[in-house]
Amino acid sequence: MISIAMATNRSAQRPNGAPQTKVCQFKLVLLGESAVGKSSLVLRFVKGQFHEYQESTIGAAFLTQTLCLDDTTVKFEIWDTAGQERYHSLAPMYYRGAQAAIVVYDITNQDTFGRAKNWVKELQRQASPSIVIALAGNKSDLAAKRMVEFEEAQAYADENGLLFMETSAKTAMNVNDIFLAIANKLPKSEVSTGGAGTRVLNDADAPRASSCCK
């Protein structure tokens, strides 16, 4: 196995016997109807920013963010749909190897909750059976216009074994918390799961470009 880039759960050990911090990297995918605030959630989580009239985020559909738990550093590699969900044209590549997913709906729009349920089904059909799924009822700052009851969504999440929170990318409410809850739920085994390949990198970028696989 070549070690020029990511394998799934890589543990990094310091060479001089210093206390080791385990670094686990996970692929997290975002799903949900257009305009429920998928990109806004990520932007709040990764950059701490919010933009009221944000256009679709050109070129930014792939962000990373690191969270520190007690003995582990969790690095999320976050994939945004890049709009491919709009006409039901999301590529299977999107789900490949994803260990976590956040399915987002808008609490002021009942239709988006229905669609969120379909995305959960789609994940159960397409993604890895062990994927950790979180349901996010976004735009909780607009509770006055609420169309989806908290209890209804909570009951659905419980039935399907999903993490659930209502979030607001605008006020930052529960944004870090939902990522943290996912990080806590993910299995952080030392053993790198078999079957992962490697990224191809430029020779200059690769720490060890020509190690050999026997």
Binding site: I2, I4, M6, S34, L43, K47, Q49, H51, E55, S56, T57, I58, G59, A60, A61, F62, L63, T64, A82, G83, Q84, R86, Y87, H88, S89, A91, P92, M93, Y94, R96, G97, G194, G195, A196, G197, T198, R199, V200, L201, N202, D203, A209, S210, C212, C213, K214
Partner: protein
């Protein structure tokens, strides 16, 4: 619900095959507003990977309506195993002998229940580590969407058995298959081929332009074993391979050594069908609009208000307009193609699912096997064997792809090669040295390169899959099409790392986004 699809684009791409997808990504990347359609419900067209259920659907569709996919014909699917497995027997044994579980006896039902673990390629191909596709993936930053595994070994068929081919310097010295004198001879030969620059090439080979590579190797004093390795395994050629072509193929092989692994080749995780999806994702990330399940009915060109030519595409009683149409040959209406006879060479292909590797090794192997032609009139046969670690099949199985230029039909062209390395009786209890073939599919593919009819400058037809080992032809063709649509523009410049993108309300950044116009209605 598709009806809110916007109608005006600079570029519309129809078909999500490799060439179409690269062109779509390249156009979107430099700011063109792109719509990308496919008539089927999945990405990749004839370049797709299927799980086992999807593959069954594909076979059924073609067999029931051959006109749907004219490029694929002669499909023959065969099972070599029972529908259901004798369950109780195997259960008892596993409980008693936990240390040595018996080899799993596969049934058709097992394939069906594990269908999702298959990713079977219709167009399996390798990437040369320093070939144009790897360079393009790296330079465009699309590499981060995909993962790869190294091909672990190159084999050939020599003296009626499988032989590992020494690829690297270390391999050459480690091998016991050739003598020390031969080793020196081989190293000298390989080193000199890599070392030639263009001028030295012209000089060295000026008398060889109309002679075969085999003649050249013989002239250089190589022994028959070495000629076999260099000609059939490294250059992938036949006895008639022209000298210069052989030298170029060798050079390409040797130049790609030592970058990622022990051989010059990479294989995409989950199959070659992932690669078009990677390019499509880049296109979408830069604003491209995607719509699968969207067949087109007609293509017309007309002159617009300012004398500009516009392509009008009829699809689901809606007109879609664009300046340039890029269309896969399998999606292209016949009246759009040039009536001149097109160049066509057909490919014979086969896929086998087996219960073990063709040559056991310590770790799970990923193999390129090159057969020399076994009979007069045959073409060399390329074989790729991929295992569970590549995400191609469930644990315990291997997917093996056979490719050759067609002589008669896929089954007659390839069955005799398969029989050399597989047990075709379907008997899974035997402990022979050959793996048992459990399932097979033979098919022929037309490789047509047709032009567009005269006078149509704004429609660009993309060829389908070729018989070559790599993606080079697809990359070259997509760059040519891109240059015609966007003269003077850079082909897939590096996409910025998202971390470097600054989000500020009053800062404009990146290309202008126009794909949302239709959504505002």
């Amino acid at each position: 619900m598709d009806d809110d699809l916007p109608t005006d684009f600079q570029v519309i791409v129809v078909g999500t095959g490799m060439v179409e997808s690269i062109v779509a990504a390249a156009c979107s990347r430099i700011g063109k507003n792109v719509l990308h359609l496919d008539s089927s419900d999945h990405y990749g067209g004839l370049w797709a990977s299927y799980n086992f259920e999807g593959l069954q659907k594909f076979i059924k569709e073609i067999n029931s309506d051959p006109n749907r996919q004219l490029q694929v014909y002669n499909l023959i699917e065969k099972w070599y195993i029972d529908k259901d497995s004798p369950q109780e027997e195997t259960k008892q044994e596993t409980e008693e002998e936990k240390t040595e579980p018996p080899k799993k006896i596969w049934s058709q039902a097992d394939f069906a229940s594990e269908y999702r673990k298959f990713n079977i390629d219709m167009t399996p191909k390798l990437l040369f580590s320093r070939g144009p596709l790897v360079e393009l993936l790296i330079s465009s930053n699309i590499a981060r969407y995909a993962e790869f595994r190294c091909v672990t070994r190159v084999l050939t068929w020599l003296n009626d058995k499988l032989n590992p081919v020494p690829c690297s310097r270390a391999d050459v010295f480690a091998t016991e298959a050739v003598s020390i004198v031969e080793k020196r001879m081989l190293m000298k030969m390989l080193t000199s081929i890599v070392g030639y620059n263009e001028e030295e090439m012209d000089n060295e080979f000026k008398d060889w332009t109309d002679k075969s590579f085999k003649d050249y190797l013989t002239h250089k004093g190589l022994t028959p074993n070495l000629i076999h390795y260099v000609l059939y395994a490294i250059a992938g050629g036949s006895d008639a391979m022209p000298c210069l072509e052989g030298v170029r193929e060798c050079k390409k092989f040797l130049m790609s050594l030592g970058r990622y692994g022990n051989t010059p080749f990479l294989w995409p995780m989950y199959g070659s069908g992932e690669l078009p999806q990677g390019f499509c994702r880049l296109c979408a990330v830069f604003g491209g609009v995607y719509c699968l399940n969207r067949p087109i009915d007609s293509v017309e060109t007309k002159t617009g208000d300012e004398g500009k030519e516009i392509v009008v595409i009829g699809s689901k009683s809606k007109n879609l307009n664009c300046d340039h149409l890029v269309i896969g040959i399998n999606e292209c209406p016949k009246d759009l193609l040039s009536s001149e006879p097109s160049e066509s060479s057909d490919i014979s292909k086969a896929i086998f699912i087996t219960n073990g590797t063709i040559m056991p090794s310590e770790k799970e192997p990923l193999t390129l096997l090159r057969f020399p032609p076994l009979d007069e009139g045959d073409n060399p046969v390329t074989v790729l064997e991929v295992g569970p670690a590549t995400g191609s099949c469930p644990k315990g199985l291997f997917a093996v792809y056979f490719i050759t230029n067609k002589v008669k039909d896929a089954e007659s062209d390839l069955m005799k090669y398969a029989e050399k390395i597989f047990d075709m009786t379907g008997d899974q209890t035997k402990a022979g040295d050959k793996p048992t073939c459990l399932w097979s599919l033979f098919y022929n593919v037309k490789d047509v390169s047709a032009g567009v009819r005269d006078g149509v400058e704004t429609v660009h037809v993309c060829a389908g899959p070729d018989a070559g080992l790599d993606f080079d032809r697809a990359v070259i063709q997509s760059e040519q099409i891109f240059k015609k649509i966007c003269p003077g523009e850079e082909f897939l410049p590096r996409a910025p790392d998202p971390e470097d993108i600054v989000f500020e309300d009053d800062v404009t950044h990146g290309p202008e986004f126009r794909g949302d116009e239709g959504d505002k209605e």
